[in-house]
């Protein structure tokens, strides 16, 4: 009831302001008239009565003002008045307004964009019900996480009491044929409980169940909604239809809901049950069922904590061998690693993301400090205005409110610009993002990001309004208009000096971090890859289909067909105009080929079974090393002579030769790569080292064998093509050449080698770009801040400078004085920054490559850069001061 009256009366007062004020005025008038009338009737004259009434009641206007200011609508009205005033203030100083709004927009925009990227990966729960209960289970090998075997998973899932359900999964890249061009799809082979662990069932059709699993079951798939839209034009009757995958018919039994995100394989479009045979577990350790190539997830039972699950699994891992027979490589003697799914997928990128987030917050703080500095400078110019307001009766709170309204308006405009920038920035981040970044599809400007930006705006607005207001003491408000503003400006300047020192310190922290990352990148790209990446086109060719199956009557016939296909395809590619050289390899350096796939044990003829080397094994066509530009150290390259019937030959890398033979000549020595029950390979040459997984990783031991002399034919090979012109120009021609041999074999990952190498180092590059940008922005903002403060200081000392010059100081003296002042600030700032930069460099140590956290080049270089930029920023105001006309300044006082 009373709230209703408050609202209606208030609104009436708000909209019929004139009527209400008239009524109050009438009432007050009435009151005074009544008082006067009373005194008159007591016998006083008109004049005396009026004076008596005034004595009793105080002034007419004070009473009217007091009565009038009651009610919430007046607070609102005052707010609008402040807002209008603030707007006029901004319009009057367009330069100040633009600089502040752009600065704030940059800071808020950049931090909101980074927040949008960091939030879904590190903080936001995964898009599954009770996602905190989903755990990832790893085995351990040499202290690192490793995949688990089917047998291990069966035991863990059968014995545990902590999980509602568990599941395993592995990548699956089937080729879909029967449409225009063969297409390789991304998918996963999963156990039946996979979607139950995630907690998202298919929208159409049914989920997998236990009868789908295991060998010799009908082929079924569940597909993503995206695949349904793209390939089947949103066909709702897709369930029950068949797809041709790797030459087999698969029945679609379900479609996942739109918006379902598989964080374990973000590009997965289809899922099929695994084909592991649980009867093999006890029978044969040398089977797929005991290979460590599966990842395992589990959903905790309600009420069970992660700690309890970890303990239970550790207990199961210790089960004695007779009750839980298992091979040596799946012994679990080092225990299991159990992590929440969220932490697990963010694990590799967490340090980088936190570093970037920290960097952007530093930029934001510098931006805010700059704006506060500008506001302080302005409020020192406005001292007169505040004094007038104070004299007219404005309380300190009232002036604070006005200042905060002004800074809020400014910040909100900056925030609006920031939101626009953030939306663009998020797009940019997604475009630049490295492939390692998980949950890319969850990165967009969402309500949480908007909330984040709004909170920033509120905090900055409050701070930016309060700091200048703190400088207006009650005393100064009442001390009158005529007082010179020098003392107030002085205190402002001290605050501004401290703020600028802080800015310089923060900028230095960022610059040193960026410098260290730049140095790391320089070191990294100067690492020789071992081959020549320019004008090198690469593509992966996959063989799929039943024509490559072995015939029962003729084991090995499938492999023969594969070899024949690849050989013919290579010949066809070599005939394409514009192709200089072409070759293929089972393993492409600096690509996303999984290292585990290409790594084998190698033993020389003087080693026994327990020793040997882990090497990268490249099954290559003749001319591979020449095409790649890999250096020949001694002996000869592999060529057309090294074919099926010929003696088995191999090339070894320089590092392997040095490791095993030292100064001896390895040519003519023999080794096994992979199985030992095969003929020896004889070393015919030594070639230069090649980086396989990353330029940052030294794993150079490698063996090259002819693809014709392998013990199995790889089903996927990478073609490398040295082109005469631009690699992109002949892509179509090369594809057609390969498809002229067999039109059903997909070609994927078509990339120039240079681009491929960029992708491999994309995460590093991504962080580097961000840090460089933030570093430059921070440097500029700090320079602007320094310039502003020094300008203010010189302007304030005009009189002093005039006196000095009159007393004989030269321009050079004045210039030196002002420069010294500015550089002292810079030096203090850098001094503080040294400590911060030291801490920051330790924090990003894991992101560096071949660069010490105390790398002198970065530290001294950035110190020099900051000092030079600071000197430039100081020079302009110093010059201005030195060119003052002493007569003019002295006269103006």
């Amino acid at each position: 009831m009373s709230i209703w009256r408050q609202a209606t009366h208030g609104l009436r007062g708000f909209f019929h302001r004139g009527a209400r004020e008239r009524e109050i005025e009438d009432e007050v008038q009435n009151y005074f008239d009544a008082a006067t009338a009373e005194y008159r009737s007591a016998g006083l004259s008109d004049d005396e009565a009026r004076r008596a009434a005034l004595r009793e009641c105080g002034t007419f206007h004070a009473a009217k003002e007091e009565a009038r200011s009651y009610g919430w609508e007046n607070t609102v009205r005052a707010f609008f008045a402040d807002l209008r005033f603030a707007w006029r203030q901004l319009r009057r100083n367009p330069g100040f307004a633009t600089v502040s709004i752009v600065t704030l927009g940059l800071g808020i925009g950049a931090s909101t964009a980074i927040f949008s990227a960091v939030n879904p990966i590190l903080f936001k729960p995964l898009p599954y019900p009770n996602s905190g209960r989903i755990l990832m289970v790893w085995s351990t090998w040499r202290g690192a996480r490793s995949e688990v075997a089917f047998g291990t998973w069966r035991e863990l899932s059968a014995r545990n009491r902590s999980f509602d359900s568990t599941a395993i999964f592995e990548p699956w890249q089937p080729t879909m044929t029967g449409r225009d061009e063969p297409q390789r799809l991304e998918g996963q082979k999963v156990s039946a409980g996979f979607f139950r662990v995630l907690g998202v069932p298919p929208l159409l059709g049914r989920d997998f169940n236990a009868t789908d699993e295991g060998p010799n079951k009908p082929n079924v798939v569940i597909i993503s909604d995206r695949l349904r839209q793209q390939m089947f034009h949103g066909d709702t009757a897709i369930v029950g239809k068949t797809l041709k995958l790797d030459g087999d018919n698969y029945t679609v039994i379900g479609v996942m809901p739109r918006g379902f995100q598989d964080v374990l394989s973000p590009t997965a479009e289809l899922w099929t049950p695994d084909r592991y045979d649980s009867t093999q577990i006890a029978r044969e350790f040398d089977s797929w069922e005991w290979g460590n190539h599966l990842r395992m997830i589990g959903r905790l039972r309600a009420g069970v904590t992660r700690g309890e699950a970890v303990q239970e699994l550790a207990g199961i891992a210790k089960t004695p061998w007779p009750q839980f027979p298992r091979p040596r490589w799946a012994s679990l003697e080092r225990g299991l690693v159990v992590d929440t799914l969220q932490d697990d997928i963010a694990r590799t990128v967490r340090p980088a993301l936190l570093a970037v987030f920290g960097a952007v917050i530093i930029v934001l703080v510098i931006a805010c400090v700059n704006v506060i500095n500008l506001l302080l400078a302005r409020s020192s110019q406005r001292t007169g205005e505040f004094a007038v307001r104070g004299a007219l009766g404005a309380s300190r709170v009232r002036i604070l409110r006005q200042l905060i309204t002004e800074s809020m308006l400014l910040t909100m405009l900056g925030g609006a610009l920031g939101v626009v920038m953030a939306i663009a920035g998020v797009r940019l981040i997604v475009a630049l993002s490295p492939p390692e970044l998980p949950r890319l599809d969850a990165i967009h400007f969402d309500p949480t990001a908007f909330l984040f930006a709004s909170i920033l705006v509120a905090l900055i607005g409050l701070a930016a309004g309060t700091v200048p207001a703190l400088h207006i003491s009650r005393n100064e408000l009442q001390s009158g208009v005529q007082r010179a503003s020098r003392r107030i400006a002085g205190t402002h300047l001290w605050t501004r000096r401290f703020l600028v020192m802080g800015e310089i310190a923060l900028a230095f922290v960022l610059l040193v971090s960026a410098g260290l990352l730049v140095r790391s990148m320089q070191r990294l790209v100067s690492v020789p890859s071992g081959f020549n990446p320019s004008q090198l086109l690469t593509m992966q060719v996959v063989t799929s289909g039943h024509q490559f199956d072995d015939l029962k009557s003729n084991p090995g016939s499938g492999d023969d067909r594969r070899r024949r296909f690849f050989g013919q395809a290579l010949d066809a590619v070599r005939r394409v105009p514009g192709v200089d050289r072409a070759a293929f390899t089972s393993l492409l350096p600096l690509s996303d080929d999984l290292p585990v796939v290409g790594q084998y044990g190698a033993q020389f003829d003087d080693q026994d079974a327990s020793s040997g080397y882990t090497v990268f094994r490249y099954a290559v066509s003749p001319g591979y090393c020449q095409t790649m530009g890999i250096r020949l150290e001694s002996g000869r390259f592999l060529d057309e002579r090294d074919t099926d019937g010929a003696p088995q030959t191999a090339l070894i890398s320089e590092s392997l030769a040095r490791h095993h033979f030292g100064d001896q000549n390895p040519i003519g020595r023999r080794l096994h790569v992979g199985p030992r029950n095969r003929p020896w390979y004889t070393v015919v040459g030594v070639v230069g080292n090649v980086k396989q997984t990353s330029l940052a990783i030294d794993q150079d031991d490698a063996v090259y064998i002819p693809a014709r002399q392998t013990w199995f034919a790889d089903d996927t090979l990478s073609f490398v093509i040295r082109t005469r012109g631009a690699p992109a120009a002949i892509v179509r021609a090369v594809e057609h050449a390969i498809w002229s041999v067999d039109k059903d074999q997909p070609i994927v990952r078509i990339l120039a080698m240079n681009r491929l190498m960029e992708i491999t180092e994309a995460q590093r590059r991504f962080i580097l770009i961000l840090f460089e940008t933030f570093g430059v922005v921070a440097l500029l903002l700090a320079a602007i801040g320094l310039y502003g403060v020094l300008s203010g200081s010189v302007a304030e000392r005009n009189h002093e400078i005039g006196v000095r010059m009159a007393l004989g100081a030269t321009r050079g003296n004045i210039l030196a004085m002002a420069l010294r002042d500015g550089m002292r600030l810079t030096a203090f700032g850098i001094g503080i920054g040294l400590l911060g930069a030291f801490a920051a460099s330790r924090a990003i140590a894991s992101l560096l490559f071949g660069t010490s956290t105390l790398d002198p080049m970065s530290w001294i270089g950035m110190l020099g850069l900051l000092a030079i930029v600071a000197a430039l920023a100081c020079w302009v105001p110093a010059w201005r001061g030195a060119n003052l006309d002493p007569a003019a300044t002295l006269r103006s006082e």
Binding site: S2, H9, E27, V28, N30, Y31, A34, E65, E66
Partner: protein
């Protein structure tokens, strides 16, 4: 606004207004005069605080107001106690009595 209102004990102005209006409808100056007379000049009410308080009480729903002619045929805004206002007066009176007697007991104990 309450800063300058040193003449009336803080927080009692509402009670005084309600009590005064419970006898008969009255205009602003009448209320001020009545409070002063009845308290033998102990309480002095300034017009700014009084008019503000009247607006507050009216918005709370305890008073109604309207322009009427006074006995010497001058137009004035008269305030009337509403039913809710009467109830509020009872509550505040009870509250006041409770406080006063509590303070009285404390003071007696001292003595």
């Amino acid at each position: 606004m309450t800063e300058q209102n040193t003449d009336v004990i803080q927080g009692t102005l509402d009670l005084l207004i309600l009590k005064t209006l419970s006898l008969e409808p009255m205009h602003g100056f009448g209320i001020a005069r009545r409070v002063e007379q009845v308290s033998h000049g102990v309480f002095k009410v300034n017009p700014g605080s009084l008019l503000t308080a009247l607006q507050r009480l009216e918005r709370a729903g305890w008073l109604d107001s309207g322009w009427r002619n006074t006995e010497n045929s001058r137009r004035a805004k008269f305030y009337t106690l509403t039913r809710a206002g009467r109830k509020q007066l009872e509550i505040e009176t009870a509250d006041w009595t409770r406080r006063v007697s509590a303070i009285a007991r404390l003071l007696e104990q001292e003595a």
